[in-house]
Symmetry: C2
Subunit: 244 residues, 2 copies
DNA sequence: TAGGATTTGTGCGTATGTATT
DNA sequence: TAATACATACGCACAAATCCT
C-alpha cells in the first residue's frame, strides 16, 4: 500500500476507524475539522486556560501530523480570537479584558433577539427530541453539578439553539461569539455558586424548550436574550468578587 | 540522509519604502496584512471575479513570497467566505447564490440599526473631515461615474462608517459582511443604472454625514439601514432583469 | 553585552487528489 | 482503464525573532 518514498515518513499514516469498522484514510478537510474542533473544545472547557502556551511541535506530535496542517488550525483559531501567536515567543490562549467581555455580551444580547426573527428553521420531531435530551441531561446535571459537565451541557444547548437559526451568517456569528465567551463564564464562576447556576441554567433550557414545543421562535430568542442578560449581570458580580 | 541543501534564496528579500524614505524590512504580520488586503481588494473590486481561479504559485510569485505565507492568506480568505479551495483542483473566488445573498443582506440590515446603539464612538473633527472628504469624492464621482470608482468610494464610505462602531465584534462582523456583499452589488449593477445609483449613493452619504455632524449616531444607523434595505430591493430587481 | 535555547515563520521538495486524454 | 498534467496539502530543514543566562 505504501509506495516507495525517497524520504522516510516518521509520522504514521493517519487512519480512523468508523463505526462500520471500515478503515478509511482521512482527507485533509476532515483532518482539519477534527483537530480544530478538538483544540477549540479544550480551550472552551479550560483544559487550555487563558494565557496557556500551545506548542506547535507538541500539538503536532499529539495529533500525529506535522506542524504544517497544525499551524493552519492555529491560524484559524487566531482569526477567531481564541489564540494569539507571536513570532519567536509562542502561541497563547487569549484572555478577555473587561471591556472586550462587555462588548461581546452586549452584541450577543442583540443577536439573541434576532434568532427568532431572521428566518428561524422549523423544528422536526428529531430536533425537539434532541433538545429534550439536552434538558434531561440538565436536570440530572443540576442535581450533581460539576464544572466540566456545566461547560459541556452549556455547549450542547448552544449548539442546539444555533441549529434553529436559518440565517447562516447570523448562525456563524452567534456560534463564534459563544466560543469566545463560554470559557470566561466557566473560569469566573465561583465553585460555591455552581449549584445555583446549574439550577438557573436548567430553568433557561426548560423555558426555551417550552417555547420550541410551541414553535414560538421569537419567544425563544427573547428568552435566550433575557437569560443571557441576567447571566452577564451575575458574571460581573463574580468578577468583582474575584477582584477583591 | 538529506542532501544538505545549501540553497540560496532565489526570492529577493522583501523591502518596503516608507514615506520617510527609510528602508524597512517587513515583519511577518505586516506582510500578511499587506498581501491579505491586496487580494481582498482585488476580489471586492472584481479584478478577480466570482469563479475565477487563484493560483497559489502565481500569487506567490506576484507578491515575491513562497507559497507558505500565501497559503496562510488564502486560508484566512476561505474562513471569511471569499474563496474556496479544493484539494487537487484549485482555489476559486466564491459566488453567492440568491438565498445566501438574501441572508447576508437581512443580517446586515439588523446590524446597521445596532451601529448607533452599541456604544458608538464620538467623532473627532478629523473623523468628520475624513467623512466630508468621502462625500466630496462622491459628489465628483456622481458627475462622471465609473464602476471601479463606485466600488472604491463605496468601500471608503463603509470603512468610515465602521470606524465609528465602538463595539469591536460588531464592527468586525459589519466589515466582514461588507466584503462579502460588495462584489455582488458591483457585479450585478447594470451599466445603464450606474448614474442613477451614483446619485442615490451620494444622497445616502450626504444623509449620513448630516447625522454625523449632529452627532446623532442612532440616526446614522437607521439611515444606513434604510438605504441598505432599498439598495437590496433594487439589487433584486437587477438580478431578475439579468436572469431574463 | 553576547550567545545559546526555544518558538514561530518561510521555502521548497514531495505526496495526494482531481480531471482529462 | 491507465497515464499524464496540474492543483492543493504536507513534512521538514532552515531563517528569524525573542528570551534568558
Amino acid at each position: 500500500m505504501q509506495p516507495s518514498r525517497r524520504r522516510g515518513t516518521p509520522i504514521d499514516r493517519e487512519v480512523t476507524l468508523t463505526k462500520n469498522s471500515d478503515l478509511k484514510v482521512s482527507n485533509s478537510r476532515e483532518r482539519f475539522d477534527r483537530i480544530y474542533g478538538a483544540i477549540r473544545e479544550k480551550i472552551c472547557l479550560l483544559e487550555y486556560e487563558p494565557g496557556a502556551s500551545l506548542s506547535e511541535d507538541e500539538l503536532a506530535q499529539q495529533f500525529g501530523v506535522s506542524r504544517t496542517p497544525l499551524r493552519r488550525v492555529l491560524s484559524r483559531l487566531e482569526a477567531e480570537g481564541l489564540v494569539e501567536s507571536q513570532h519567536g515567543v509562542g502561541t497563547f490562549v487569549t484572555d478577555l479584558d473587561d471591556q472586550t467581555l462587555k462588548e461581546v455580551y452586549q452584541f450577543r444580547l442583540e443577536l439573541a433577539s434576532l434568532i427568532g426573527r431572521l428566518g428561524p428553521l422549523g423544528r422536526s420531531e428529531e430536533d425537539l427530541e434532541r433538545m429534550r435530551a439536552v434538558f434531561m441531561r440538565c436536570q440530572r446535571f443540576a442535581e450533581a453539578p460539576t464544572m466540566p459537565e456545566f461547560a459541556r451541557v452549556n455547549s450542547d444547548f448552544a449548539q442546539e439553539l444555533a441549529s434553529m437559526i436559518g440565517n447562516r451568517p447570523l448562525r456563524e456569528t452567534v456560534q463564534r461569539l459563544f466560543y469566545v465567551a463560554i470559557r470566561v463564564w466557566i473560569k469566573t464562576l465561583p465553585a460555591e455558586r455552581l449549584a445555583i447556576e446549574a439550577a438557573i441554567f436548567r430553568d433557561e433550557v426548560e423555558d426555551v424548550l417550552q417555547a420550541l414545543e410551541l414553535a414560538d421562535f421569537e419567544a425563544v430568542g427573547y428568552l435566550h436574550r433575557t437569560h443571557l442578560s441576567m447571566s452577564f449581570a451575575r458574571l460581573r458580580q463574580y468578577l468583582e468578587l474575584g477582584n477583591d
